[in-house]
């Protein structure tokens, strides 16, 4: 099974679908949609097909592909899949088809929409699998382009501005990161992330960077950090996010929050932490505060929104910040944290939270899309009422997604957040205590959302008529909520995939 380029297949199948659509301009709209969906589903299919041969017990890369590519820069076409990548590939495989189904009725140039969407999906997968910075950065940057056009051309009234802000913020981060890696190559002569991690582990990388002298070694760390922090986004680099998520068409919002925000978090785990253990530890005190800022202020900002999309956008900042809170709590701790299990719980929770948030936030955006589609585009928290009596199935499934998002025990969100808090309490009790405020506020705004929209007498956009879910909508929400229940009861099926990696990480803590 290892001889076959499975990883290349995962990355390039969506792109092949995009190419096919581009080459078939005369294709019927319906056929085009189905074609796009099939290629989008390919990720999940190949990802699941790899599961049986995925070595559950090993921490390293279960699948790798490594071919010489650019001799002058010692760049290899290097892909690798370990537990972390696998979780995110599966997440992409789940979110992307759902997002396509959410924008199923897109009437403005649907072919071009699907081409861009498949390009975006392939780029995200490339980010999760590439192990050479050059290759990784191609995917990282290329993902911006389809995202930019998807927001700009299919978004709401303020989409142009939101898309511009989105791309400029992210490019600013990328420019800093590129500068950092130029320095890394200048001193080490390699861009291979796995090799650099080895160099960093024994201190060689830090020693080589120190040659630059003065403030510059810190600047290199800062550059790479900024590139990732903008993408996540980590507070206070988040200001592009609410507009971008709110203006994007529903399917794109789902992908942005479900998958693209994970690209940044993934970068923290795959690049920043392994390459800069020392500087990250030194900065962790401050970074913990930033992550806490995202957790608490994100939740409070969401509380103040009446536009539901903006509310979920801010809540995404809050939820993604938990992942980083866990990471920074681990890196901030000095010595002996691996033993008591705090670090293992925090890291395990962080990875699980990436997956959980991807599913539940995407589901929430989908539900808002359902509301929009039945009310002529309205999505104000106070513009609906009594939807539950008109559409009980929708109310039930949306409620499940919401409870998953606010961390109700029995649903998946709880396990991830519980593990994070369990770990962070052991490592940095004050941060965990302050973070609880975020949990509380999240419950308040999500319940307010539920109450205003679904309860009470029929009102607003739902006063006269509100259809319950169609077959297509059920096809998205039923599997998503089923997965939330399943992982809430049996989180082990996902944790098992990456647990060896967590053990490996905690064994190598200082």
């Amino acid at each position: 099974m290892n001889g076959f380029p499975w990883l290349t297949l995962i990355v390039f199948l969506p792109w092949a679908g995009a190419a096919l659509l581009a080459l078939l301009p005369k294709l019927d709209v319906r056929a085009g949609r189905v074609l796009a969906l099939v290629f989008s589903l390919s990720t999940l299919v190949v990802g699941l097909a790899l599961l049986p041969s995925f070595k559950h017990a090993a921490a390293g890369y279960a699948f790798t592909e490594d071919h010489a590519w650019i001799a002058a820069l010692q760049v290899n076409y290097h892909l690798g899949l370990d537990g972390l990548s696998l979780v995110l590939v599966l997440l992409t495989g789940l979110v992307a088809p759902g997002a396509l189904l959410a924008s199923w009725r897109e009437t403005r140039d649907p072919r071009f929409f699907h081409i861009l969407f498949l390009l975006l999906q392939g780029s995200a997968l490339g980010v999760f699998l590439a192990l050479n910075f050059f290759l990784w950065f191609i995917f990282w940057e290329l993902s911006l382009v389809p995202a930019f056009f998807l927001i700009k051309l299919w978004g709401g009234a303020g989409a142009s501005r939101a898309a511009y802000q989105f791309i400029i913020y992210t490019m600013a981060g990328s420019a800093c990161m590129l500068l950092g890696f130029a320095a890394i190559f200048a001193v080490t002569g390699t861009l291979d992330l796995a090799r650099l991690a080895t160099l960093a582990a024994d201190g060689t990388l830090a020693a080589k960077l120190a040659v630059l002298g003065g403030f510059w070694p810190k600047a290199v760390f800062l550059g790479v950090f900024l590139g990732l922090a903008v993408k996540v986004p980590l507070f206070p680099f988040h200001t592009w996010l609410p507009a971008a998520y709110a203006e994007a068409p529903v399917g794109v919002s789902m992908f942005l929050t479900g998958v693209m925000s994970k690209m940044g978090v993934y970068g923290f785990f795959r690049i920043l932490w392994p390459l800069f253990p020392g500087p990250l530890q030194a900065a962790s005190g401050v970074l913990l505060w930033l992550a806490l800022g995202g957790v608490v202020l994100g939740a409070f900002a969401a509380l103040r929104q009446t536009d539901l999309k903006r509310m979920v956008a801010y809540s995404s900042i809050n939820h993604v910040s938990y992942c980083l809170l866990a990471l920074f709590a681990v890196t901030a701790a000095t010595g002996g944290v691996g033993a008591d299990g705090g670090a293992a719980a925090a890291l395990s929770g962080a990875v699980l939270q990436m997956f959980n948030h991807g599913i539940s936030a995407a589901a929430l955006f989908f539900c808002i899309g359902v509301l929009e589609s039945r009310s002529g585009g309205r999505r104000g928290r106070d513009e609906f009422g009594g939807v539950r009596s008109a559409a009980p199935v929708f109310a039930g499934l949306c409620g499940l997604a919401m409870f998953s998002s606010l961390g109700l025990p029995g649903l998946n969100g709880f396990i991830g957040e519980f593990l994070i808090f369990r770990g962070v309490f052991a490592l940095a009790p004050w941060a965990a205590a302050a973070g609880c405020l975020g949990l509380l506020v999240t419950a308040i705004f999500l319940l307010t959302f539920y109450q205003r929209v679904f309860h009470g007498p029929r009102a607003g956009a739902a006063a006269v008529e509100f259809r319950d879910l169609s077959g297509r909508e059920l096809a998205v929400l039923v599997p998503a909520t089923a997965l939330m229940l399943l992982l809430g009861v049996l989180p082990q099926i996902l944790i098992g995939l990456y647990n060896p990696l967590i053990s490996f990480w905690t064994a190598h803590l200082p």
Binding site: W69, I70, A71, A72, L73, F134, F137, I138, W140, E141, L142, V145, F148, K152, L153, S160, Y164, I167, I168, M171, A172, A175, C176, L178, L179, F181, A182, A183, F185, A186, V187, L212, W216, A219, G223
Partner: protein, 499 residues
């Protein structure tokens, strides 16, 4: 390899033929120009296939010319020349395709055009300083006529400014070269000979000679603050001339710096290095910021060239093997991308919309009216902002890596230029092509724009293909460039400049 001199003769011959044929039939002149340009490019590619990358120049033609002065007709090539010859052939061919609609005095237009191309081939092949200079001047003169006769906005002003700057630069170069020639004992203008003799020049002599020669060439490469000819010249020029001006002629200046100023006067470089580097960095950032606020589409591209050439000059200033190879790669990359951008602005958009004002373009949804132009510009714009997967990325990355080795501060400020480039490219893309001019409200004339011609599509595909191929496989060029930089010719530069 011995085919390479024929690129020069072929271009000059084609110029004469086009002039003759143009009197009777414009179509004949066009086809002659296209065949000449394509044949020249073909010659370069055939030579490239048989090229064995090696350190040092490989002579392709050598003969006495003015023996009393020690001037020889010495043509030679290495991987650096070959890279730029490839660029010239490509840009020349694409330029003809984008000039297919020149109706006014077509024969003369292409005669000047091919003379320019011949001069450029000559510069990239010359291994004798005086011969180099002669070809350099041959390339400048046709520019004037192309702009003054076939140009647009402010064409007399633009043409005159360009020529005055170019000649002022040439005068400095000539003065510096003569000084070096006399100081070396007046035996030979041959570049390797001069370089060998120059090793014995005193440091202070080198500092002055370098200043003359480098500055003279750098004017044509758009070194800040001597860049002001570039935007006005680019804007005034007809499309094909803008493409060549930004794509190839600015490279002549950079190539002169690399081939003549650096190897001859390494001590001069060591002295002036910080000044040049900071001017280059200033050009990168300033050019980008000015591009960010232009309201004329073509000026945006004109200033972006200043910004991108700043990366070339920064690479030259950093003067280590990595930075220099990045600079040559960036010369190629920018040549292709700038050509493409000017083609979209000047040919695809301006010739149809008859305006370049961004606010007027924004009033119509151009991406619906001219989807091919919009698509081409999006790809060219991505390449121009250094998006990975296109040639600008490996070039700028290589330069940044090299510059880090010399001075982190230059690299840090230059990286700001990458961001500014993204900002102005996305801005102009939005304004020019993605206007929200409502679908129903567009004036009826907008629905009847002439469609994009086959020649334009072909030209765009050639240039886009080149930037993608080099973006994904920069080795194709770096495998030529890197060995060339290991020649003894560059040894002193790398030792003196690179620290």
């Amino acid at each position: 390899m011995s085919l390479l001199p024929w690129t020069i003769y072929l271009s000059f011959g084609g110029a004469v033929l086009a002039l003759g044929a143009g009197a009777r039939s414009a179509a004949a002149a066009r086809w002659i120009a296209l065949l000449t340009a394509a044949a020249g490019w073909g010659l370069v590619l055939v030579a490239a296939v048989g090229f064995a990358p090696a350190a040092g120049l490989q002579t392709v033609a050598d003969g006495a010319w003015i023996p009393s002065l020690g001037v020889r007709y010495h043509l030679a090539a290495d991987g650096i020349s070959l890279t730029l010859l490839t660029l010239t052939g490509l840009a020349a061919t694409a330029g003809v395709l984008f000039s297919w609609n020149v109706e006014e005095r077509t024969g003369e237009f292409f005669a000047f055009y091919l003379t320019l191309i011949g001069g450029v081939y000559g510069v990239f092949l010359s291994a004798d300083a005086l011969l180099f200079f002669v070809f350099y001047e041959i390339a400048i003169v046709p520019k004037y006529f192309l702009i003054a006769n076939w140009g647009s906005t402010n064409r007399e002003y633009g043409a005159m400014k360009l020529v005055l700057y170019s000649f002022a630069g040439s005068a400095l170069v000539l003065a510096g070269l003569l000084w070096a020639y006399v100081a070396a004992g007046s035996h030979s203008f041959d570049l390797p000979d001069l370089a060998a003799a120059a090793m014995h020049f005193s440091g202070s002599e080198q500092v002055k000679m370098f200043a003359l020669v480098f500055l003279g060439f750098a004017v044509l490469a758009g070194l800040f603050p001597f860049h002001t000819w570039a935007p006005t010249g680019h804007v005034a020029a007809p499309t094909a001339a803008s493409m060549l001006l930004a794509g190839v002629v600015m490279k002549l200046g950079a190539y002169g710096c690399l081939r003549v100023a650096l190897p001859l006067f390494p001590a001069g470089l060591a002295f002036w290095q910080p000044v040049i580097a900071w001017l280059a960095v200033a050009g990168i950032v300033y050019g980008g910021l000015v591009a960010l606020v232009q309201d004329d589409f073509k000026f945006v591209i004109g200033y972006s060239s200043v910004s991108h050439m700043g990366f070339v000059l920064l690479g030259l200033a950093a003067a280590n093997a990595r930075a220099l190879s990045g600079a040559v790669l960036q010369m190629f990359s920018h040549g292709v991308i700038a050509g493409l951008l000017f083609a979209v602005v000047g040919r695809m958009v301006y010739d149809r919309m008859h305006t370049r004002r961004l606010d007027e373009l924004h009033a119509r949804p151009l991406y619906r009216l001219l989807p091919f132009a919009a698509g081409t510009f999006v790809f060219a714009g991505l390449a121009s902002m250094g998006m990975p997967g296109f040639s600008g990325f490996p070039a700028e990355l290589t330069i940044l890596i090299g510059v880090w080795q010399t001075s982190p501060a230059w690299a840090a400020v230059a990286a700001l230029g990458v961001l500014v480039a993204a900002a102005f490219t996305v801005r102009v893309m939005q304004l020019a092509f993605f206007g929200r001019g409502g679908e129903g409200t567009a004036p009826p004339s907008s629905t009847s724009l002439p469609p994009i011609t086959l020649a334009e599509k072909l030209g765009a595909v050639l240039l886009l293909g080149a930037t993608v191929v080099i973006g994904l496989k920069p080795d194709l060029l770096l495998n030529w460039i890197t060995p060339a930089l290991q020649s003894p010719f560059f040894e002193a530069v790398l030792k003196g400049g690179g620290q």
